[in-house]
Amino acid sequence: MKKLLLGNYAVARGCYEAGVKVATAYPGTPSTEITEAIAQYDEIYCEWAPNEKVALEVAIGAAIYGKRAICSMKHVGLNVAADPLFTASYTGVNAGLLIAVADDPGMHSSQNEQDTRNIAKAAKVPVLEPADSQECIDFVKIGFEISEKFDTPVILRLTTRVAHSQSIVEERPREDVLFKYKKDIQKYVMMPAMARPRHEFVEKRLKSLKEFSETIGINKVEQGTQKMAFIASGIAYQYVKEAYPDAWVLKLGMVWPLPERLIKDFCSQFEKVYVVEELDPFLEENIKAMGINNIVGKEIFKLTGEYSPSFIKRAVENKEIEVPYKVKQTLPPRLPVLCPGCPHRGIFYVLSRLKDVIITGDIGCYTLGALSPFNAMDSCVCMGASIGMAHGISNASDKKQMVIAVIGDSTFVHSGITGIIDAVYNGSDILVMILDNSTTGMTGHQDHPATGYTIKGEPTYKLDIVSLCRALGCVAVEEINPYKIKENVEKIKQLLDLPGVKVVIAKAPCRLHRRYKFTISKRYIDFEKCKNCRLCLSLGCPAISLKDKPTIDANLCLACGMCEDVCKFGAISSQKEQ
C-alpha cells in the first residue's frame, strides 16, 4: 500500500526493513523522529544516549559485534561525535554502521548552519543523500550494503526539507542480516602500530569507493529535452526538477566520494552546467578540483539559508518574482515564546531583575529567555557551553564579575557535567542554575538519564542531579521551586555572594508533559483590585494580555500561579470575580 511518510519515519522504516538491531541517538531537530519511530519496533534495541559521542560509540560497538546499527543526530551533534567518527573510519565495521545526520539549512531550530559533507570528507567516509521519503528507505538499505562491502561507516545526510517532509512510500518486509563477531585487535585496537596500516587501508578504501561511485545506480543522468544542465543532490535536486522539468540533470545519490568520470562526461556535453547545492560549495569545489571549468555555482547561488525552486529560477534567469498581494504596513512580529505555565518563566523573571550579572545560556527551550520581555541571557553557543563560558568570564574578570550559567537538565547530562568538574577543579566562583523540567523540552519531550525513564517509557535508574553535583565538589547545591518568585529572588542573591561553585536546581516538570498531572486552578484578575501597573505583563505569559487592564485568557492559562506571586496588589487569584 502506498502511504505518506515523513522523511525521518522513512529512515526508521528503512532501518526496520534492513534488519537493524541497535539504534542510538541524542534528540535534536530535525533528526529526532528517526529514533522515536525506531523505538516503536520491538525488533530493534533502541536508546537515548546522554550525548552524540556516547551514542555513536554504542552503535560502533554493536556494528563490530555483528549487528547492523544506526546512530542519529543533527549537524551540530556530529561535532560532538567527531572524535569516535574519525577513528571508526579506521577500524571500519563488521555489520553495517549508518550515521544519519540532519543538517538544517535556514536554521529553523539550530544555532548555526553547517554542512556535514565537510566532516564526512575529513573523516574519509562515504555520504549518501536521499531526496524524498522513498529514497530515505532505499538509501538506508544501500548504505548498509556499502558499509559492509567497503568496511566503513556510512553517513546518511538529510536536510530539514527531506527529514521533515512527507512524501509517498511503499513499505516492504524486514530482512534479517547476520554477521559473527571476530576478535581482531589489528582492526579494532587503534594504537599507533595498528592504526598506521589502517590509515593505508582507509586511503585505499576511498579509492575503491570512488570507483564504485561511477557505477552505483543512485548516481544517474536524467535526460532532458532542453539544452540546460544541472548537477544536484538531495532536496536541491527536487527544486531543480520543479524549476526546470525539461533540463538535463546529473542526480547524485552518493555525494562523497564523487564519480569523477561520470561528472566529466556529463559536463563535457554542455556549454555550462549549474551546480545546485544548499550551504557550502562542496560539490562545486570538488568538481573544479577535477579540472572542470564550465560549471556555475556559488557565484549565482547563495551560501546561506534554504533554496527553493523559484530561488533557483531567479538566480539562473536573473529576475525577480512578482508578488500579487502585498501588505504595506509592518506587522507585529510573532517570535516563539515560553509556553503558558512554563517553569522557566519564573526563573527568567527573577534573573531579569538582577543587576550587574552576566548570564551565560545554553541550548534548549530556555534559550528563549534571551528574548523580550526577559532579555536575561548574554550568550548561547553550544550544548553545555554555558558553564565553561561562565567559568571563563569569571576568571577573565579576576572573579569580580558575577556570572550565572543557565542550563537544562537534558543539556546538563549531555555535556554540562564536565563543565562543572572543570569549574570546581579550577576554583571558580560561579552560580550554575539547572532548569530541571524533567525532560528534553525543545525537541518534544524525550527522556534522558535524569528522568528515570527509557526511550520506551519504561522506568529505569534515575540519575540524581543533587547528589551528583555534591559529589562533583560544588559548595552549595539547592533545589528550588521555580514558581515561587518572591522566595527565589532572595535565595539567588544570597547564593551569588558565596565563593565557589554553587548549583541551584529549579525543579518543576514541563507543563506540557503528559506524564505529569497538575491540579488545575486557573487564575483570574480582579479588576477592582488591579491598579493597572502592568507588572504581570512582564512575565511574558501568552495567557495574559492587555485589554483596558491586563486580562487572563482562561483557555490558555495553565494555572501555574506565577502571576499571582508577581502582582503586588493581590489582584490575581484563583477566585473568579463575580
Binding site: H164, S167, P324, Y325, V327
Partner: protein, 197 residues
C-alpha cells in the same frame, strides 16, 4: 485532479496545523495524487508563526511553496493570514479563521493588533472568513478548529466527502474522532462565501 495544487497552512505553533496537513495530504493521496507535505518543528513551534506546505498533483518535486505560488492559504489565526499573503498567487483564495492570538509584541504593547479585515480589503484579495469562534462555542470544544476549517475547505476540492472522514478517523486519537467528525460536518455546512468558484 489534473492541475497541481499548492496549499499553505499558516497559524501559530501549537494550533494543530501539522495534523491538519497530514489529514488533508492523505485525502489528496487517496484521491490519486502525488503528494508532498513540508512542516516546521522545534523552536519555531513554541507559539511562533508557523507554516506547513501541502502540494498535490500528477507529480510533485519540491515540497516547498514559494511566494506567489499558493492556490489557497488556510490561516488558523487572523493576523497570520497577512504575514503569509505574499505567497498567494494571482486569483488565489485566502480562507481565514476569525480566531485572534495576540503575539507577545502586542501583549506588551509594542505593537497593535492590526485591523485584518480592512487591510485585506485594501490589498484586494479574494478572502473567506470563517466564524470559528462562534462555531467552536457551539461545539463546546476549542481544540477542533483544524477539522472545522477542513470541513469548510473540503468544499473547494472536488473530492468525495467520505475520503475526508476516513482520513480524520485514521489520524485522530480514538476518543476525539467523534468531536472531530462533528466539527468537520459543521465546517462543511458553513454558507459558502462570495469567492466560491
Amino acid at each position: 485532479m489534473k492541475k497541481n495544487i499548492n496549499i499553505l497552512v499558516v497559524g501559530v505553533g501549537g494550533q494543530g496545523n501539522i495534523l491538519f496537513s497530514k489529514i488533508l495530504g492523505e485525502v489528496l493521496l487517496n484521491a490519486g495524487n502525488d503528494v508532498k507535505i513540508s512542516e516546521v518543528h522545534g523552536m519555531a513551534q513554541r507559539g511562533g508563526s508557523v507554516v506547513t506546505y501541502v502540494k498535490a498533483g500528477e507529480k510533485v518535486f519540491s515540497p516547498l511553496v514559494d511566494r506567489a505560488e499558493a492556490d489557497y492559504i488556510l490561516a488558523f489565526e487572523k493576523l497570520e493570514s497577512l504575514r503569509w499573503l505574499e505567497f498567494l498567487k494571482d486569483n488565489g483564495i485566502l480562507i481565514y479563521s476569525d480566531y485572534e492570538i495576540p503575539p507577545l509584541s502586542v501583549i506588551t504593547g509594542a505593537y497593535e493588533y492590526p485591523d485584518v479585515e480592512k487591510i485585506l480589503q485594501t490589498v484586494g484579495v479574494k478572502a473567506c472568513r470563517v466564524e470559528v469562534k462562534k462555531l467552536l462555542s457551539q461545539l463546546g470544544n476549542s481544540r477542533v478548529q483544524n477539522t472545522l476549517m477542513l470541513g469548510f475547505f473540503s468544499r473547494f476540492l472536488d473530492i468525495d466527502e467520505a475520503l475526508f472522514k476516513k482520513s480524520i478517523e485514521r489520524n485522530v486519537k480514538k476518543e476525539f474522532i467523534e468531536i472531530n467528525l462533528k466539527a468537520f460536518e459543521l465546517g462543511r455546512r458553513i454558507e459558502m462565501c462570495e469567492v466560491e468558484k
